[in-house]
């Protein structure tokens, strides 16, 4: 059974007909071809698929596309500045060598986006707490924590 959904993704209104069981992640990645969001476990633990839905981080592997009807969804593709340059958080990540293989990256960026929107001056403990639900297998996390701190310092 297909259901029509209308939602805003990175500021663009999208209307589509989706199967009821289609996950938000598959809808974004395959139907909208926004492949920046990644699937690392498909059971809601690793956090690679994290997007924001109405500003709150959400696991797009555990959410159905139909549940996002009417919502404002943001993905890693939506973090660029209007002129196409890197957003403050992205630039801080580049400057801090935050990531290695890049697979977990979208989830960390969207989780940190939510944190920085809620708390412009997080402590290092705040940052660790915020990203504690995201797994990275490459970096040992230190560089990611530093990048988020740097982004906060720069007023992300």
């Amino acid at each position: 059974m297909s259901i029509e959904v209308t939602l805003t993704v990175n500021g663009v209104t999208r209307t589509a007909s989706v199967e009821a069981r289609r996950t938000l992640a598959d809808f974004l990645r395959e139907d909208l071809e926004l492949t920046g969001t990644h699937l690392g476990c498909e059971h809601g633990v690793c956090g690679a698929c994290t997007v924001t839905v109405n500003g709150a981080s959400a696991r797009s592997c555990l959410m159905l596309a139909v549940q996002a009807d009417g919502a404002d969804v943001r993905t890693i593709e939506g973090l660029l500045e209007p002129d196409g340059s890197l957003g403050v958080l992205q630039q801080a990540c580049a400057d801090s060598h935050a990531f290695q293989c890049g697979f977990c990256t979208p989830g960390f960026l969207m989780t940190a986006t939510e944190l920085l929107a809620e708390n412009a001056t997080p402590t290092e403990d705040d940052v660790r707490e915020a990203i504690s639900g995201n797994l990275c297998r490459c970096t040992g996390y230190e560089s990611i924590v530093q990048a988020v701190m740097l982004a906060a310092e720069r007023g992300a």
């Binding site: 199967e19 069981r21 289609r22 990645r29 395959e30 926004l34 492949t35 920046g36 969001t37 990644h38 699937l39 690392g40 476990c41 498909e42 059971h43 633990v45 690793c46 690679a48 993905t75 890693i76 593709e77 973090l79 660029l80 890197l86 992205q90 990540c93 580049a94 400057d95 801090s96 060598h97 990531f99 290695q100 293989c101 890049g102 697979f103 977990c104 990256t105 979208p106 960026l109 660790r128 990203i131 504690s132 639900g133 995201n134 797994l135 990275c136 297998r137 490459c138 970096t139 040992g140 996390y141 230190e142 560089s143 990611i144 924590v145």
Partner: protein, 775 residues
Amino acid sequence: MSSVAPAQRFVGQSVRRVEDARILTGRGRYIDDMQLPKMLHGVFVRSSIAHGRITGVEVDAARAMPGVVAIITAADLEGKVYPLSIQPEVPNVARPVFTALASDKVRYVGDPVALVIAESRYIAEDARDAVFVDYEPLVAVASIEHAEDSSRPNLFDDIDSNLLYSENRDFGDVEAAFAGARIVELTLRPQRVAHVPMECRGGIADYNAGSGDLVYYATTQSPHGLKLGLSGALAQPADQVRVITPDVGGAFGQKAGLQREDAALCAVSRILGRPVKWVEDRVENMTSASHARSEILEISAAVDEDGTIRGLDANMRLDVGAYPVLPFPPSFLGPIVRTMMTGPYHIPALRWANTVYATNKASYGTYRGPWAIETLAREALVDRIARELGLDPLDVRRRNVYTAEEQPTEMVTGPTIEGIRASEALERAAELAGEQEFRAAQTKAREEGRLIGLGYSSYIEPAPGPPNLFPSMESGLPPERAYARLEIDGHLTVTTAQAPHGQGHETTLAQVAATEMGIPLENVRIIHGDTQLTPFSVIGTGGSRAATMASGAALLATRSVKEKVLEIAGHIMEIAPSDLEIVDATVRPKGDPAGGMPLANVAGAAYFAAPPGEDAGLRSSSVMHEPPGGWSGGTHACQVEVDPLTGVVEITRYLVVEDCGDLINPAIVEGQIRGGIAQGIGIALLENALYDEEANFLAGTFMDYLVPTVMEVPRVEIEHLHGDALHEVNYRGVGEGGTIAAPPAVLNAVADALGGVEITTLPMTPERVLELIDG
């Protein structure tokens, strides 16, 4: 090198990564991001039991589902995929012969039995659940003890035992070493662990029935190794197999070689004449991709009362699971563990025994620092020696570690020890750890009922190791190759045999090449991951080879192109090439900033006019051989606090003193060290790829298999040691040292916190720690 002005030395700087421009913006392209026209989706039906005979596969209901294109079983692949086994034959090593899809028997939970092909992954997964496999269960071989029990069935009917390999070797005068010596013994039984790249395995097989060409887009760290394997398995000529790697989301050894799924997927694309994608989910990855470690290592040391280690006696029993990951024979691990066993210590004798067994478990796959058991066992043993002799663990290390004065020398197992700073690293780590202050604090803490501990581990890492390392292991590796080409606009393209997946080679190799060529960093592009373009390497990225070998090859290839450029420029400018230099993409007389011509003009002249000195383009191929030295290494120090009520271990401080030569990009080096340590902490405290007594797998999700989060990984303090270079290419790998050295550092710290208890198994979970506290 002399023509490079200091301002253009990109080497040694933490320049921003080239890769980040795409991965930070969601524009990376990983295997599951790719869609090909007319592409189908494949999902494997996998065994739910560990050991049994297949008595029937019912596919009709699944086949009838709308959108299902084919259900492939082993029978469909007969004559399409040749039986798989280790090639070539290795003396005294049993060679199981097996099929891509299980035919007569299943041999582990997760063994692929059928491949469902459908128009979408959703449909394929529905159909997978509608395929029914009937089994006649067999008694499972769930452990090394089971494998040694001849009353249990053999996994492979053509091999009359589950023992695949055994070896006994003596190095040095073992009898003399042990005669009259005090003996300290320890048996280590670390757990099975999984590599857990954040991106699971997958590929898209694209066979063109018209041309007969097979392109396999694969998430692999060894594209040429995979190509070689596919070519053999499918009897597909090498010139008609092309492996292309998009961005790869981590591997850690799991994405090496030919996996059975690769062969099945490519065969099915050839049968159907359409592209077929397979991307596993996490449960499938945890269950069916490879695991590692879980050696049983019995080790004893012959020691003098002052802590001098006279010799070691080590017996390693290894469980390699059901099917070998091709092309690695079951015997592959023993030689490197054996060779590395004495580590950074001058120990003059080693008795070595190794047996390797097949069990009903997922395949053993090389994992970051595959030989790490030698460091774990030896460093735990060193602390045991100190405990039993009433000595300080640091003093036992001091008494045995290689000093600068005694180098070069040879390990008793063969490789040359030269240029290592083991002694210096040990002293500096003890100093930074505040050894004396810590002991005072520890005494005070104990009085307050608090348990704190400090542990060390010292190690050396072949990165890539000296030229006689591989001969010491009765094996060899081809040298590393690279191509370089000056483009028509004066930019440089370097093609590497590496297949990076997080290591940042697009950045580091560009730093080396740009510095050598005398051009801006952004004018260099690194090409990798396409067997049609890249030089052959059976490994690709692995074995901590890139820093020395790939950088060296890139340097030599760039230098060769530069020589051609100077030859041509010299002709145009009527100046001897030896009097020219390239600075900031301008070819000019040495020391004459005003003179000269843009490099692009020289390139343009060469491309269009083919002047003298030009031989088939401004391109070169170069080969890098192992230089002398080749060791990274150092000492890790770990401080912990153990909660006596809950058994939870908190790492309160972690520091590393290490030597990997000159750093091409310090931020990348430190990222490798920190990431390796995080995995080592996972091994020490959290991760367990657990099977039960019937070989059922119990850790299929991230709720069961605990990967360290930011809350478990402390900030890691790093200090680099620097000394005289043995060779112009003075960069060495650091990929594996963290994962090797962290588990024993944490183990020794926890043992110290608990008053010197003997710890023999990992992970040190709260439950296990409480058992240790209760004695």
